[in-house]
Symmetry: C2
């Protein structure tokens, strides 16, 4: 393994450790020395890999933002099926990769301004709302989704998903909900 690859590995290890600690103890209660100790490595070395504690945070938030961009609808699949499938995949993926839950928590904190102004800006660069709103309009046109402001419905849908992911992050024993329940928010009765 080349030196560059080694460094990349180490960076990832730091990022994953930091993500876990930031979520478990909170960003401000997590000291650089705590992360260093957990990785493990010396305090000073941390700054060989990341310019500052804040840069480390930014990297994580950028990762989170990047991960979210992958969300977009495949044409030809009916919206209610697509959303249900999406949630199913999300829940099962997160079950195997628990850092996904932590990422939701961190992104939530960033979006709500609990971290820093800059982190908020990065997190705000995502837009799942718009594309989901389009999807919802399609479902309304085909008479499956209930009527109402599609944009508002989209916001509520994602807010619920966010809330539920955060709840699952907090209660590791909690089972995933049936995607059906969440999509029911949008369905006509």
């Amino acid at each position: 393994m080349t030196r560059k690859e080694q460094k990349e590995e180490r960076r990832k290890a730091i990022l994953m450790t930091a993500l876990r600690l930031f979520v478990e103890r909170g960003y401000y209660d997590t000291k650089i020395t705590d992360i260093a100790e957990s990785v493990p490595m010396s305090t000073g070395l941390m700054f060989h890999y990341f310019e500052s504690k804040e840069e480390l945070l930014f990297e994580l938030v950028k990762m989170g933002a990047e991960g979210t961009r992958s969300f977009s609808m495949t044409e030809d699949v009916p919206p209610e099926i697509f959303l249900k499938e999406f949630l199913k995949k999300l829940f099962s993926f997160a079950k195997d990769q628990p850092w996904v839950f932590n990422m939701f928590v961190l992104m939530g904190q960033a979006r709500r301004g609990g971290l820093s102004e800059e982190a908020k800006k990065i997190a705000d660069s995502i837009d799942s709302i718009g594309s989901t709103a389009k999807m919802i309009k399609k479902g309304q046109d085909s008479g499956i989704f209930r009527d109402g402001d599609a944009n508002l419905m989209s916001r509520c849908f994602w807010a619920s998903v966010q809330g539920i992911m955060e709840e699952m992050a907090l209660n590791k024993e909690m089972k995933a909900p049936d995607p059906e329940w969440i999509v029911a928010m949008l369905l006509k009765k």
Copy 2:
């Protein structure tokens, strides 16, 4: 107005200012001097009213916990009606008293451990989950609510409400959702 009352008023003013700033800028980015400046009063005087910045935070989280305890079902009202009515009242109350949104955000941060261990403990002392689960069982017995783990359903219900309240806190222009949408999570199709 007696001196004691004056002091009480001032305390409340500080609490409300702090709540707003804690949510707008984040707890750690809000300096004591920022709060003092906003109230307004001198930095030193803050400590005449609150022992420390953390105690100020605890008071707020305690307030939030207290406010939540008022939630409990009236017998004889069907659960789906009760929940819909509750949400309707919550949304309209919060519209008039925007600090309610901020309180949801703060309590969420506290519950998720974004503030401090102690704040988390206070926030964890609330249990809406249990009482709502009972309500859900009742709805299942009467055949109106869908089948499934009532406790899990209750968790998801509250997680959604939390997520939506936080979203509304973030987007002041956002309209409240139709309570129907959220309760639909629980309803049999």
